[in-house]
């Protein structure tokens, strides 16, 4: 090609590039053949992969996975890809003094770890069904998520390994995918890998979707994903404390010298315990702490599996509430926020003065079965 023609051709290419910057930026967000963009969001993710792996490493891996009530701040700009592992296995957990049962868990606690990502982030997720293994979460685990150190600092569920080999699955409400592919059930000893993109901001439930889904969730297989809005919340600069709270019911009955899941009670919506963060004492033995005048933000998920939550802080009013954690859904001045099963909210209040503030499910039959926590406020200065 003569030199002049080559230059013309190159100029043409660079002109084309300069004409369509958006198209190129968008395409760089697509990672696999078949992915496409609608309204700026990514769909059409690759098929899930089910496989076997010789893996006995940390059952929770990822820098942004924490134990309740902690939330790992997003210390990066823009979007990134998170490589997340959350294995499923049985674990003996305590939900009230003297009430322990063999739970089915993600990561060894009920609820499981909280994942924090930003709107637009991509998650490459791996899960191994380790329900036929004894997995210890209360000893130091190298290479694991921050979740372990936090759990080990305050192991209020007295987590102990257990064996209960059962097929399980993982359903992230934060993902927009074909459930019969990504959320498919895997047998003990199998692993699954799939991707999802955090297309919508919010506080989302994840849970096992294997029938009976009532049994699998009531047995403990759920947790929260926080997808922070791309541009944040308008009060981000003013917030002094952030806490994650997951409300859920337990349906236990005596069995020999211990307790087990009671399916009839679950069908009848008659819980033995209703808890914040999986134990009637979780937020009382270790209260949330703030100072008078602080702005406190709660990320609240009602995991159910079947009850509503009428969440209220005694002595405070929710200054701002973002229903489902989406910054577009703003309410002001709420005394109580009603959440159905798998609904959520981000809610903020200003701590009025020093004292002890009770967090309750204002459906008092639930509060009196354990759905109570405490925030202790120190003087302002």
């Amino acid at each position: 090609m003569p030199r002049k023609q080559l230059l013309t051709a190159l100029a043409g290419v660079s002109f084309a590039l300069s004409m369509a910057p958006g198209a190129f930026a968008a395409e760089s967000r697509l990672k696999h053949e078949g992915e496409f963009i609608v309204d700026g969001m990514i769909f059409g993710l690759p098929e899930a992969r089910v496989f076997e792996e010789d893996y006995d490493g940390p059952p929770v891996v990822g820098d942004y996975l924490t134990a309740l009530p902690h939330l790992k701040p997003l210390d990066y700009e823009g979007n990134r890809t998170h490589h997340v592992r959350l294995d499923t296995f049985a674990q003996e957990v305590e939900v009230a003094p003297g009430y322990s049962f063999t739970a089915w868990t993600y990561g060894g606690s009920v609820p499981g770890p909280t994942l924090h990502v930003r709107e637009g982030d991509r998650v490459v997720f791996t899960m191994k069904n380790r329900s036929d293994e004894e997995v210890v979460v209360t000893k130091p685990i190298r290479g694991g998520a921050p979740y372990f150190a936090q759990l080990q600092q305050n192991p209020y569920q007295k987590n102990a390994p257990a064996i209960s080999p059962v097929p399980h699955s993982m359903d992230f409400h934060s993902g927009t995918v074909a459930a019969d592919d990504k959320w498919r059930t895997i047998a003990p000893g199998e692993s699954i890998e799939f991707e999802w993109v955090a297309n919508y901001p919010g506080v989302y439930m994840y849970h096992c979707g294997t029938p009976s889904v009532l049994m699998h969730t009531a047995m403990g297989q759920y947790g929260a994903v926080v997808v922070s809005p791309r541009e944040g919340f308008p009060t981000d600069d003013k917030v002094d404390h952030e806490f994650v709270i997951v409300q859920s019911e337990f349906y236990l009955t005596e069995d020999g010298d211990g307790y087990r899941y009671d399916h009839q009670a679950a069908l009848d919506r008659n819980p033995s315990h209703v808890t914040f963060n999986g134990h009637v004492n979780a937020l009382n033995a270790t209260p949330l702490r703030a100072k008078a005048g602080d702005r406190v933000r709660l990320y609240l998920l009602n995991a159910g599996p079947s009850d509503t939550s009428s969440f209220h802080v005694i002595g405070a009013i929710f200054d701002r509430v973002w229903y489902e954690g989406n910054v577009e859904n703003e309410w002001r001045g709420m005394q109580t926020v009603l959440l159905g099963a798998s609904n959520s909210a981000v809610m903020e209040f200003i701590v009025p003065e020093p004292g002890a503030y009770k967090l309750v499910d204002h459906e008092f039959a639930d509060a009196e079965r354990g759905a109570v926590g405490t925030l202790i406020a120190e003087p302002r200065n």
Partner: protein
């Protein structure tokens, strides 16, 4: 053939006393789970079913006779890597759940089928197994809620590191031991075919899709449903501490 294998097993290890298979008379089976909404009742022909699960000692005798099924020789296609992992060595039994009189576990569907074929038998079909279990339960005094409570307790905490010996409990009215509560048993057609419109779910079940299979919404039927469902979500290579089996045999009808 079957009895000579038993005899060999007895020579090798002090396994459990052999149990004659039980004849299960033919009859109508009321489907406890409505896999096909138009089929509430199925006729089951008479067959024989082992009175108890296959033990470790019996399975050891089998892999001695058919070395291709030993854990260090079995092709990966036919079992997960933890096939017979609880045995101390490929041809050595051990303690607790690896003891000679305990039900064999960590066996794949392929291995279970091969074992039964070597005894001149086969795995029971899903309907045969469930029919036998239901017949025995109907003939017993166990209430629906007692059945459900026993099963939910076992599902959530099977104590599979130290299983009881086979046939350690009294047999039910039909002469069958431990149909529930010791191990989950392989059946020939363990995977459910569930349809939703023109889409068929080969593995059986998606989130919340339960009610249409239930003739009654009580814990008794959920306890049964959970067995159908979890069995279906295993694959033919699956090997776990709770998966065992017993064999069935055809009834040779006189001409």
């Amino acid at each position: 053939m079957r009895h000579s294998i038993f005899f060999a097993a007895l020579l090798i290890a002090s396994g459990p006393v052999p149990a004659e298979p039980v004849r299960i008379d033919g009859g109508y089976f009321q489907q406890p789970i409505l896999l096909d909404e138009n089929t509430r009742e199925t006729y089951i022909d008479a067959f024989y079913l082992d009175a108890r699960q296959v033990s470790n000692a019996e399975f050891l005798a089998f892999v001695r006779q058919e070395p291709a099924w030993q854990r260090d020789r079995i092709p990966r296609l036919f079992a997960q890597p933890n096939y017979l992992k609880h045995w101390p060595q490929a041809l050595t039994l051990g303690q607790r759940s690896a003891a000679d009189d305990r039900p064999v576990t960590y066996v794949s569907w392929y291995a279970a089928r091969a074992y039964c074929a070597a005894q001149g038998g086969r795995l029971p079909s899903l309907d045969e197994w469930e029919y036998a279990a239901a017949l025995q339960r109907n003939a017993s005094n166990q209430s629906g809620s007692e059945y459900a409570h026993a099963l939910f307790a076992w599902y959530t905490n099977p104590k599979s590191r130290d299983l009881a010996p086979v046939a350690a409990t009294e047999p039910g009215p039909l002469g069958l031991h431990d149909m529930h509560g010791l191990v989950l048993e392989w059946v020939e057609d363990f995977q459910l075919l569930l349809t939703q419109g023109d889409k068929t779910d080969l593995l059986g079940g998606s989130c919340g899709d339960t009610a249409r299979f239930m003739p009654k919404f009580d814990e008794e039927h959920y306890a049964t449903f959970f067995r159908y469902q979890s069995r279906s979500n295993f694959n033919a290579r699956s090997t776990t501490s709770t998966l065992g089996f017993r064999c069935a045999y055809n009834v040779e009808e006189p001409l």
